[in-house]
């Protein structure tokens, strides 16, 4: 593998800085509006999109960027706040599902506009349609690269 070029390094530095800034900003917006933070949001949306609004903890772990202990603790919090509920699995009695509660769904709906505005404003708005497509292609290439 060859050396990292100047422009690759430039792209990299912009990548991490841009990411940090945008996430920080969105997180701040969500907090200001008293909405669930991003990681919580991700769990809720994953559950919402799942059949029956529920997922095995293991499935959640794969979808999210968190270890299983991270998921355990995150669910602890969400359960305490009444946004999800654990439901022990019938088929596999080691396991459990996380189920989205109505309250969780409501919080999801409340958070979305704030989140969406952030994505639009900080991430998408400055890009042309063409650039958006280019980004998708680039990130997909990286994903592919990972799998090798």
């Amino acid at each position: 593998m060859e050396r990292v070029t100047e422009s690759e390094l430039a792209a990299w530095r912009l990548f991490i800085k841009t990411y940090a800034r945008i996430i920080e900003q969105i997180e701040r917006d969500l907090a200001e509006q008293k909405r669930v933070p991003l990681t919580a949001y991700d769990v809720l949306i994953a559950l919402f999109e799942a059949p029956g609004h529920k997922l095995r903890l293991g499935e959640l772990t794969q979808k999210m960027v968190l270890t299983k202990s991270g998921i355990t603790r995150l669910l602890d919090r969400l359960e305490r706040e009444g946004l999800v509920q654990r439901e022990k699995s019938e088929e596999d009695r080691r396991g459990a599902y996380a189920v989205l509660t109505p309250e969780g769904e409501q919080q999801l709906r409340k958070a979305w506009p704030v989140y969406a505005r952030g994505i639009k404003q900080y991430f998408a708005a400055p890009l042309s349609e063409e650039q958006t497509r280019q980004l998708i292609a680039a990130f997909e290439a990286m994903q592919k690269g990972q799998e090798l």
Copy 2:
């Protein structure tokens, strides 16, 4: 501001997932090779590039994505490991500099190859030159967008 489109959302999701995976992977590589973690690396490189290999803590706070208390604690660790040293400022006796030690510089040099390989492999290698340029343009557009 209009609604977020499908493809913008797709780009966004790829963005955060790609970021998380790559950082995680590089961090793992650094840990395996017993090298300084990314945040530490960032401080060391900032100091290295600074005149006299030193910076006021406040300047560091701006360059990094960390609060001032975060910087305080990070420097505590780096100082304990002998990679930087605090030096109280003469001009402003509230303040202090962080100074890169020779040992710090050495650690920096040792970490770079691992870091660079990660950037190349997980981030840059899957991209064409054209795509790298497109990424730079896109991220710069976002930065610009932020400033408004």
